[in-house]
């Protein structure tokens, strides 16, 4: 018995070490990009450029965080990108004075932030109703919501952009705390909270249990429907927050705000090791995924790649990154 156990344990040790490494799989890639970036342009590693990278990615990173929660419980939420536009859009519509800003001016500016977040919660509740209460397929439901929400924003704005947003709406997107943009702080704090919640709370672990084997989760006494409700509503709320930061930074709400984000969000999550089949991946991995994508984009911009080609290169990079993470992950991607 003893002699058979010995090799098994060392093999096990290696597997455990590997499982931990998986979480850090993108770190070498990030270091390589940093070196390449520095060679391309000495500006790359300067503090203000790095802050610039973090700030431009902060809104979409929050979407990645939201999508990660949803993916771990084996659902999908495509409508997040429309919520990014709709939530601040509705707030601006109701609070921006009549005139050049295209608003109705029905409510004082102080209402804008609560309205933004409330719209996020409402969208989440509708999604959850369809997916959990009526048992519809999450992909199709949120695809429908994606189109409906985008249409509502286009409808209320008449296809125009809201300007002259109230001060409270601009604050988070423009303020600096301790020398760093508030949106960078928020993004980093939310990811830190996400890492703790997913890794060290019963609630967080129940997400993995549900995504991995929902029957086993039920058998272990987890109230699966309640957890799913919380996850779906939280994801929409985070999307609204992300929209708030974006509108604040741009000082406007375009009717196409957030359009096309969801593809980058999915790519970042999968590159970061989140499984589309649920139950797998960490918040830290998701963060490295979106960070890697934005660093590469920044390097391309610094290298003077013509803007017309950025799209094609972006897509290529996503495919290469997926292939690389498949190689480092060792298993077929799901």
């Amino acid at each position: 018995m003893a002699d058979t156990a010995a090799p098994a344990t060392t093999g096990a040790g290696r597997r455990i070490a590997f499982a931990r490494l998986r979480d850090l799989a993108l770190i070498p890639a990030i270091i390589v990009i940093a070196i390449v970036g520095q060679l391309v342009s000495p500006v790359f590693l300067r503090g203000d450029n790095l802050i610039n990278v973090l700030q431009t990615m902060s809104e979409i990173a929050i979407l990645v965080l939201a999508q990660t929660l949803v993916l771990i419980v084996k659902k999908m939420d495509l409508s997040l990108e429309s919520t990014v536009g709709l939530a601040p859009g509705i707030a601006a519509w109701l609070t921006v004075p009549v005139g050049a800003g295209h608003g109705l001016g029905l409510l004082p500016g102080g209402w804008s932030v609560p309205i933004t977040l409330a719209v996020g919660v409402l969208v989440g509740v509708i999604n959850a109703l369809f997916i959990i209460r009526f048992g519809l397929n999450g992909f199709i439901v949120t695809l429908g919501m994606l189109i409906v929400l985008r249409g509502i924003l286009t409808g209320v704005s008449g296809g125009q952009t809201f300007f002259r947003l109230p001060k409270s709406m601009l604050y988070l997107g423009t303020a600096e705390w301790l020398g760093l943009p508030a949106s960078v702080w928020l993004c980093l704090l939310l990811f830190a909270a996400g890492i703790v919640v997913l890794g060290f709370t019963s609630f967080g672990r129940s997400l993995y249990a549900i995504g991995g084997n929902v029957d086993a989760a039920k058998a272990a006494g987890i109230r699966t429907d309640r957890v799913l409700w919380i996850v779906i509503v939280t994801a929409s709320l985070l999307a609204a927050l992300s929209g708030l930061l974006l509108s604040g930074r741009l000082a406007s709400v375009a009717s196409a705000q957030g359009n096309g984000y969801i593809f980058t969000v999915f790519a970042a999550a999968v590159i970061g090791g989140i499984s589309l089949n649920g139950g797998k991946g960490t918040m830290f991995g998701a963060f490295t995924g979106i960070l890697l994508l934005f660093m590469i984009q920044n390097v391309l911009t610094l290298a003077g790649v013509p803007a017309q080609w950025i799209g094609a290169l972006n897509g290529t990079i996503i495919l290469i990154a997926l292939a690389l993470s498949r190689v480092t992950g060792g298993k077929a991607q799901d």
Partner: protein, 501 residues
């Protein structure tokens, strides 16, 4: 000892699903510290009894008592978990989480900060596994465990809830001989520590090896409960099969033994499933391939049909050797195939009878890959007539048919290319009596028309019409039984019991 109430006692349990009676006035009584065997053929009601005993389903009638007290309410999951646990064949662990986390899922240890203390979760998991001497690293993802380790972990988890009564549902089905020996040693040890087991198995050998008492179910009813030592094997097999008189298929022309073989299998092996299998099927002959669910008979049949490739050996069909593991090659060589599970492999439910029935012969339906709808429907009408499929027309989706008629469509598909060899796995599973008779009659007709037929099944009625039955046990052909066998003899051979020994 005598005064102690039974660990579990079920009385007068009846459970119906629609018009099917899954359990009829069944009873079982399991005493403290026993290892109690539950045996019965497929459909005897074993699984239903397990789901009633574990509180997954409420019986329609009857009562369950644990240690003399009535069972908790169905919604009281914790109550049930403290009394009984079942280690199913299908795993109830979450593969991506570690062993430690699986053991303490939703009852993690929290540190002072309110966050999970992984260190103490791991320590408690290690203590738990050490207590029951399970040698598994708790930091491993549970998906990396092999079947044996997983079972031990699931048993330990059950014990950690306080349950001292554990149901093992065919625990040996996926284990090799050495692992089975270790499992039995573990069961004996735990039994000495006061754990009671209900052991469900298809292998009667194992029942005699480790069980004290055996209960037999047949046709949803309790047949007998007896101490294992006082029940000869022949009687046990008889109790499982019932007192059905021996009936052989209607007298049929003797098969032409000297006719050319349409199938010749030579020394075929597939690691982990079957080994060194050789046999022939002649034109006009019906050969049965009998064996329990995990015996390897299904895999042998699938190898012939091209669904799997053997690691070694030769499959020769009507003198040709189709490329191994290629269904088109097997089809071309003249194999018609009725797969094991019609819902998964047999038909596409939303497609019409005509489309399903002609899936294997697209080249006969028109030129250059186009399908001539009229010709297809002609083929289909022909089949509907030949196989007496009850349908208003060939355009009806297969999902709208009854089970028996769906199976006829699968059969039609297998026959569409006029096969020289018909391979069928469980051809009458889930089919009503009338369709069953019809299908089996059709098989005889096909054999008489000169094709060879191979039936891989554990259903005695399917095998009755075979000219000879090859019995597969643990991946090897262990016996060849000519037509006219006694039920008991075939069942004993399938269960790996030697009645003469």
């Amino acid at each position: 000892m005598v005064a102690a109430p039974p660990v579990v006692e079920a009385t007068g349990v009846t459970k119906r699903y629609g018009s099917t009676v899954a359990l009829h006035d069944a009873a079982i009584r399991i005493e403290q510290g026993q290892t109690h065997a539950l045996v019965g053929r497929n459909g005897a009601g074993k699984s239903t009894l397990v789901s009633v005993l574990t509180g997954l389903q409420a019986p329609d009638e009857g009562t369950i008592a644990f240690g003399g007290e009535p069972a908790p309410k169905l919604t009281d999951r914790d109550g049930w978990r403290q009394r009984v646990a079942c280690v199913y064949q299908k795993s109830t662990i979450i593969p991506d989480l570690t062993v430690a986390e699986n053991l303490f899922l939703n009852r993690h240890d929290h540190g002072r900060s309110g966050l999970i203390s992984w260190r103490s979760v791991r320590r408690k998991a290690k203590e738990l596994l050490d207590t029951w001497s399970v040698d598994v690293d708790v930091r491993l993802p549970a998906g990396d465990l092999d079947v044996e380790q997983r079972q031990f972990v699931e048993i330990a988890r059950a014990l950690s809830f306080g349950a001292r009564f554990i149901i093992l549902d065919e625990p040996t089905a996926q284990l090799d001989a050495a692992a089975i020996a270790r499992l039995f040693r573990r069961i004996t040890e735990l039994q000495q520590q006061g754990v009671t087991f209900l052991f469900i198995s298809h292998h009667l050998q194992e029942v005699y090896e480790i069980c004290d008492t055996v209960t037999v179910f047949r046709d949803a009813r309790h047949v007998l409960t007896a101490p294992v030592g006082e029940l000869p094997r022949a009687d046990l097999v008889a109790a499982m099969t019932g007192e059905v008189a021996v009936e052989t298929g209607a007298a049929r022309r003797a098969p032409a033994v000297h006719s050319a073989p349409v199938l010749e299998l030579t020394n075929a092996s597939l690691a982990g499933t079957y080994e060194d299998v050789s046999f022939r099927v002649h034109a006009g002959e019906v050969v049965g391939l009998a064996g329990a669910a995990s015996s390897g008979r299904v895999e042998i049949a699938e190898t012939i049909a091209g669904l799997r490739a053997a690691d070694g050996g030769v499959v020769e069909i009507a003198g040709t050797r189709p490329r191994p593991g290629s269904v088109p090659a097997a089809l071309k060589a003249g194999v018609g195939f009725v797969p094991q599970d019609r819902h998964h492999q047999g038909y596409v439910a939303q497609m019409s009878i005509a489309d399903n029935g002609t899936l294997t012969i697209p080249d006969r339906l028109g030129r250059a890959g186009f399908i001539d709808g009229r010709r297809r429907d002609g083929f289909a009408r022909d089949m509907i007539g030949r196989l007496a499929i009850k349908t208003p027309g060939p355009e009806l989706p297969v999902s709208g048919l009854s089970g028996g008629n769906q199976q006829k469509v699968v059969m039609a598909r297998a026959l569409a290319n006029d096969p020289g060899l018909l391979v069928m796995i469980n051809p009458t599973a889930g089919v009503d009596v009338r369709s069953k008779e019809f299908l089996l009659g059709k098989v005889e007709e096909i054999a008489e028309s000169g094709a060879g037929v191979l039936i891989a099944s554990d259903e005695l009625d399917d095998l009755r019409l075979c000219d000879r039955v090859l019995v597969v046990f643990q991946g090897r052909v262990v016996a060849e039984i000519p037509r006219g066998w006694h039920d008991h003899r075939l069942v004993a051979a399938m269960e790996g019991v030697d009645l003469d020994g």
